[in-house]
Every structure is written in C-alpha cells, then in structure tokens.
Symmetry: C2
Amino acid sequence: MQPLRRTAPFLRQFRSTRPSTFCPTSRIGHSRSQSTQAATTSATSEPFQPDPDSGVKGSGAEASKIKYTVDSYTKLKRDSRFKQLDAEDVNYFRDLLGSEQAVLDGVTKENADLEGYNADWMRKFRGKSQLVLSPSSTEQVSKILKYCNEKLLAVVPQGGNTGLVGGSVPVFDEIVLSLNRMNKIRSFDDISGIFVCDAGVILENADNFLREKGNIFPLDLGAKGSCHVGGNVATNAGGLRLLRYGSLHGNVLGIEAVLPDGTIVDDLSKLRKNNTGYDLKHLFIGGEGTIGVITAISILCPQRSEAINVAYFGLSSYDKVQRAFREAKKKLGEILSAFELMDGSSQRIFSTVSGTKLPLEGEHPFYVLIETAGSNGEHDSEKLEAFLEHVMSEEIVDDGVVAQDGAQQGELWRCREGVTETLGHWGGVYKYDLSIPIAQLYDLVTEMKQRMKDRDLIGEGKPVVDVVGYGHMGDGNLHLNIATRKWDKEVEKVIEPFVYEWVGERNGSISAEHGLGLAKKDYVGYSKSGTMLKLIKQLKDLYDPNGIMNPYKYI
Amino acid sequence: MQPLRRTAPFLRQFRSTRPSTFCPTSRIGHSRSQSTQAATTSATSEPFQPDPDSGVKGSGAEASKIKYTVDSYTKLKRDSRFKQLDAEDVNYFRDLLGSEQAVLDGVTKENADLEGYNADWMRKFRGKSQLVLSPSSTEQVSKILKYCNEKLLAVVPQGGNTGLVGGSVPVFDEIVLSLNRMNKIRSFDDISGIFVCDAGVILENADNFLREKGNIFPLDLGAKGSCHVGGNVATNAGGLRLLRYGSLHGNVLGIEAVLPDGTIVDDLSKLRKNNTGYDLKHLFIGGEGTIGVITAISILCPQRSEAINVAYFGLSSYDKVQRAFREAKKKLGEILSAFELMDGSSQRIFSTVSGTKLPLEGEHPFYVLIETAGSNGEHDSEKLEAFLEHVMSEEIVDDGVVAQDGAQQGELWRCREGVTETLGHWGGVYKYDLSIPIAQLYDLVTEMKQRMKDRDLIGEGKPVVDVVGYGHMGDGNLHLNIATRKWDKEVEKVIEPFVYEWVGERNGSISAEHGLGLAKKDYVGYSKSGTMLKLIKQLKDLYDPNGIMNPYKYI
C-alpha cells in the first residue's frame, strides 16, 4: 500500500453512481428516512416476513386484506375478564369527546375506517377493534382510561403506528386510543434547548420546528414522517443519532402520562438536573404503553451540526472493522455521528438487486459507512482526512471514498439503507434486531451461514439465498437477515431457537431497539433473568392491576 | 469597543496571578477537585452551615465532637418497629463475613472507629450506629439485607460518605453497610468503551484506570478522591461533565443491586441498546439507597479529549450572559464542556478573602468561565477564537482572558471553585442548590438581595455580608449563597420558605444535584406534586415494605 499515492486521490475518487433501475418502494416516511425505516426499524423475529410493499395506516381497504393476528397466533385467547363494548360505552365516549371525528365506532354501525387502525404497516398484525378514540387533551385521556379501568375495557395506545413488533395495534377488540389529535408544540427555550410538546406530534414536524431554531431532535429514524414522538419515547426508539446524542433515557427530561386509573403523572420537568425522588419517567420510556399513556414530553435538543461528512470503506476482515471503529473514535472524537457496518454479502445483494454500481471497485468482505457532524466544516474535513490517512497507511482499510456533496452523501447512505429492501427480492426474509458485545457481533452471521451450509440449505436452488449482517456497529446493534426463496420449516428450525440462545449466552439483547410488542414477547427470557422478569411483572401489576393496558403483549 | 484592536491581545493578555495568601483548606478529595467539592457539591438547605474546615471520614476522635443529628432535628423519633441490635446479631454477621475487619462492633465492645462512619464530612450530621459491616461480595450484601429485613434491623448503605444532605450516615442506631471492600474493576471493553466495576470503586481510581485506556469516566466532581461510583449512581451525581456527557441516566448501562429481601437485581447489561422490559435500573439511579444497595455498575465511557481550553470573561448584565451562552453553544458546538456563571459579588469576595488578584481589571457585574474539550487542539483554539471575536465585536462580553497552559487553566478554575470556601470567611453561609429555568435563574439572587436590603439586614455591621449566585449555568443549576456574620433568626425567616416557594412557582428543583437525604426531605413538596409524591411512596412501599432501607430520609 502506498499511503501517499492513495491519500490524495482517495478523497476525490468518488464518482456519482446514481442508481438507474433501483427505486426504493414508497412507503411511510420520506426520501432518505424512507429506506432508513426498513434498515433501522424493520427487523422482527417473526418467521418468514414477506417484504412489505405498501403502507396501510389509514387505508382501510388495504388493511382488510391482512390476516388477523389471532389466526397466526392461534394460542392467544381473549381475556374473558374484559368487558365487551356496547352502545352505552360508545355513547359515553361520544359525550366525553364531544366530536364525531374523535370517535370511530364499529359497535353501533359499520365503519371501514377502523381497519387502518387495526393493522400495522408491515401487514403482519391485524386486530378486531370496533372503537377508535382520539382525545384532544390529557384530561380526556384521563377520563377515558378511568372509565375503561372501571368497566374493564382493554385499551391499546397508538401513536403513528409505525412499530415493528405489533405493539401498537389491537389483538382482539381492545379500544384504540389514538394520540393523533394531541399534536401541539407546547414550548421551546432557545437558550437551554428544551422542547416540550404533545405526544402526538410527528417526529419530522418536531425536527423541522427545531431546525429553524438551529437545534435538532436527538433522535432520527426512517419513520420520522409518520411516527409520533410519544410513540418514540414509549418504545425507547434508538435510530440513527444514538451514537452521537445518546438514548432517550438521557435526553428526555420529563413526561406527562396517564395511568390506567386516570391519574395524571405530572412530571413534565424542564430541568436538566432534578434530584428529588425516584425518576419515574424512565418506566414509561420503553414501557410500550403497558402501564399508561404518555401525553406529552419534555426533551433536551442539542445544537444542530451544520457540517456533515460521509465516507464509505472496504475492509478485509471483521478484526479490521473493529480497529477502524477504535481509530474513528480516537481521531474523529466528538464529531463521529455514525459508524455503520455492512458485510460483503449485503452490498453484493444490494448492488445486484438494485442495479446500483457500488462506490468501490472490487469486492471486500466488509464495508463501513462513517458520518461526521460538527460545527465547522473545515475542521471536520481535516479530522476526517487525518483519520483516512491513518487507516489507509496502517492498512486497516483497503479502499474508500468520501462524498463531495449532499447528493453523494445520499448515495453512500443508500448503500446502507437500501440493503433491507433488496433482501426481500427472492420472497421473504428472516430478520433479527440484536445487541451483541461488539467483539463477537459478527460471529453470529458466520455461524448462521455455516449452519445453513452444513445442512445444505443455502445456495442456488436451495431455500436460503444468503445470510447477511449489517447494522449500527457503533451501538453494538446487529441486524441479522436471512434472505430466502420461500417459507421452509427446515430453515426456521435451523435458525430458532439457536439465534436467541446464541445471543442469550453472550448476554446480548434479543431486541436492541424495536421493543417486545407481540412479536418478541415469548423470547424475552433470553435477555432477562427470571428475577428481572418477576420484578417487571410486579411493576405491571402495581400500575395496571386490571391489566387493561395493551394486553397480550410485552411480558 | 474596538474588536480588531482587542481581539488579538485578548488571547494573550492573561498574566499568571497565583494566589499568595489564599490556600484552600485541605479536606477530602485532591488538588483541583478539592475546591470543586465545595463548588459543585457542598450546598445544602440547612440553616446556617458553618464552613467546614476538616474532614471526618475515618477520624473517630474528630467526629465525636459533632452534635448528634437527633439533637438538631428534635422532631425525629426512632421508629419503634426496628429491632435493637444485640450480640446474637453481631455474631451472625461476624460468622457471615468471616473477617474481623469487616465488622466494626460497638454492641459487645467499645469501638471508637465507629464514629468515622457515623458522621459526615461537613460535621453537620452524626448518627449513633453501633455496627458497621463491610461485605466483600454481592452475595454477602444479599445475606446481610435478608437477615436485616427478617429481623427488622434498619440499614444505611454508605459509599465514600461525601454526600451533602446527610443521606449516607445513620440518624439513630441503623447498621452502616459500607461498600469499601467491594472495590474491584470487573471489565473494560476498549472497543465499545463499556466499563464495569464494583460499587465501592473510588471515582478517581476508575477515572485513572480509564485515562490509561484513552477514555474518561463521564462524571467528575470535587470529592472524586473519596467518593464511590456506586454512591455517585445512587445519588445521581451531576458535577462538572454533565453539560458535555449528559446525566448518569444516559450513561449507566446496567446495575447490579440488592433489594431489602435479599433479591439480587442482576441487570448489569453491557449493551447500549436493550429494549426488553421496563428499565428498572433508573429507580436505583438517584434512589439514595432507599430501595436497595447498588453493588456494581456498567457505564459507557467516552473517548478522553486531549485538548482543553479555558477562558474567563466579564459581562455587564445577565441578559448578556444568556446571549454569551447561546453563542457558545452555536460557535463552540460539540466542544463546549463547561459554562460556569459567577456574579460580581462572588468574585469580589473570592478576591478579597483569598487575596487573589482577579484575571480581569476593573469590576464586572457578571463573570463566566468557559471550558472546551476536544480531540484537536488547533481546531478548538480556532473555534474559541472565532467565538471570542464574535462576542467581543458584538459587545456581548466586555473583557476576557484565555489560559495559555494548564497552570493558568487551574488559576481560572480557582476563581470559580474557590468561591464557596471564601464565602464562609465571616462565619456561616446559607446555601441552596437549585435548578431554575435559565432565563429566570439570576432573578432569585436579585430578589433575595432586595429582601435583605428592604429589611436592613445586609451590609457593614449587619448580619448578612452579601447574597451571591454562581453555578453550572449550562445546566440551569444555581448555587444561591447568603454569607452571614452569625446565625440570625430574622435572616432565616427572610430566606425560608421564600426560596422554596420562589423555586416551586417556577417549576424549578429544590435539589438540582445533591439529592434529598435528611436535609431536604421536608421541602420536596416544592418540586414534586402530591401525585408524584404518592407514586414515589408507592414504589418505596413496594420494594421496602418494612422500611428498613435508609430510614428517616428521602421522602
């Protein structure tokens, strides 16, 4: 390797390779976040997930074609303690909300619009709710829950309904409590950067508002055009900015929520420091609506970084990927905002299926996408150049390109974000969203591929097309994907429970960022001890003794 | 103002002004952190706090001169449900711990060493415990608590005993459970930066270990030479790095803890992302040992920044301080690591009492100390220069200096950190650690001073010397201090409950970073609603139904 020869042209060798035939399917969200949705939040542990090709939210006609959840999960039985909705209940809610549009009623009349709230966008889950309520105030939410708790009516809180584990749609006839109409920005302090809004504000709207102030919402994910910030907090969404800005547990300063008995948890603190008692809000962050409904949030929003750089590398081994990550943290320090891993298979499939020429010549066993975000473009470029010189001269990286403008940045990101959709090309994908200690993270992909080879299940004419790994390496978050030609019982047996056992043995997480919902409920024991499960159930019983909140899910 | 003339010399005009007569009292901690202790963690809401002049930890003879807590807090009565310790209990613990040094026993024999564990370093609180246990494993902690819970023996967990609100020392005869002997570093992953250690590891030892790896513990405070990381987590310590690295709720990835019934909470996750059930660890962060004992922590430790810059400014109004903060966030962005406010009075007193010449000529109504920490010294200096040019040319800042080396940085920091100790020069100080929305933060100081003037209580020959404000402005954290010549009932009545009411009306916090302990227990209602207090008590009852954990404190 000749670092001096390579370094200079390295920074400029990137040529625009706009894809000609590949066009990511239009779904929820928008442009870049579009495909990110798939990449960052679409993995589930459900067997054989057909690659979804259209959104369903609000589309009753489309939704009515989806199989009912109870027909897939045949072991689930409706909890007989729950009351069946009747006209009297509907009248109560109509009086309470005082608005025709706030009550979608299928009890006293046919209502096709209900279907859009019953089904999820992946077309995997569909409930049978006959009532959707859209309150416009925290007091209304309180009265709804109090009534439901007294009457034993089960409730599913629903934000943007962009989840990936079936957590936001009903299973049986639970009432859907939609936060759609609670969508006001309450306040923003431009000195402290503290932003307060209703739970039903769409993430992108919040971020656009903040952009004008020079700030940024410390969370970004593909569904930003549809998802609600309340839902983000309720599911402790991870996404693309976690490496830089940390988790919602660090950024959310306060919440307002309603408990099943109607109690309003008024903890909407606008303070960075407040050591006055147990910090209860954290139970709602990632609580997936099982102990109450978040109605507003207060969150710290940092300064928006004006300068963005994106680079894309080829590397010869996972060991070198780890070395590159260590060097990126050292040399890029405070400006490193993404470190994404894609293995050779994932890039080969992306390129073949989408017809996109990859940014680098030749094939590399591993690829890495790095993003920096800082306040001074010149400084950032200098840091990036120093990093590149180092990783090239040390032969940590074999080849690489740096985007010269925003369009090229988008093209590099597409190599990462486009993977998920192209994997579905042959029929279906088994998808897993896992946290694994970084040193062992890729071993799972290697072992899984070997298992398929050993059983002669992979390759031309075999059920499995390929086993690929990619994900938010900086967060220790692997998306393991097994692309298949058709559903195959044999394949499924080779994958599960092996994948959960493997992760459990390494103290990993079977759900890094997507939550549990209905899809992962049965596997949580691989990531939590019996003691922890007991303590979690104890809290559920404390706050929701009647079990009306989002039943049949979580734990 | 002539920006061009001023900008260039501005950066070099700082002359060393090492203090000749001022020498901060040696206490716990070390050198710089020494005075930081006072600055960042010494405020309490107790009336008339004599400025402490010597540490007590481990010094039984010194401690025995301190007034018993029950003689100051005469309303406190020993809970009669609790069993009195007897020889049988002591024997049980001696057998269990199997070591003479792990059991300090005052039940069956005189033991002067007990005093060091009974009293706090401020010499404000002193309990009457007759037993100190120092287990060496989580299993031993579990067995101790199980025994105590069954026998109804009350327990106070104790880390480095550097707290400021009397939370870590007994009130009556509670058993002290010291984490001193649980002081092992368990693991460090130099790729992810995830560090795992026993709760009893001293913060400075953890940080020194991490320094060698190129990482940093994301928390720094004055007591670092004595305090335990477990105690830091149990009190949700804030300190000096919060502006840059965020709170412990964001950085702590897992904990191991023991509940009163002996249950070991095995939640020592080493993952950045893990969405599998309620995140229970947050109840222990800031729980002040009232629901269990933290025995180990797992924490994310960022890359250490090699380049540090410190600057010190004079400003003409609080409005300009706020503008300077906004500009610092914009222009310094990701490298801003501290933004500290000191009012003119605080700097005048510091200078007069310590005999230190201030770094700037003339008097300014407000002073600000800014620190940057980044990965590239040249870039950081350029950013700082651009910021300085801007705030000077815009006349946001009247005058300023930038430190040229580490020694000068220390001198600038001393102007901030030395304040607390010099305030005690005349006798005593009323101290409050408050979170207030930034825009209103300084109003409290102005109003308090006016109250003293209106009642003719302030000035030469009057009880009050001055009312001063300083603190972690970047975090909205004000340290309000009222320096007095002697204890005066009239003065106290003017301050309280006014200060709590004022903060409560603005939805501030009566304890920003110091916690509640015994000292603030009665005032928590000003920062938490009745609903929140009810929910907090409900959790306490759930985990500690017998109330044996750290009784008489918190809420």
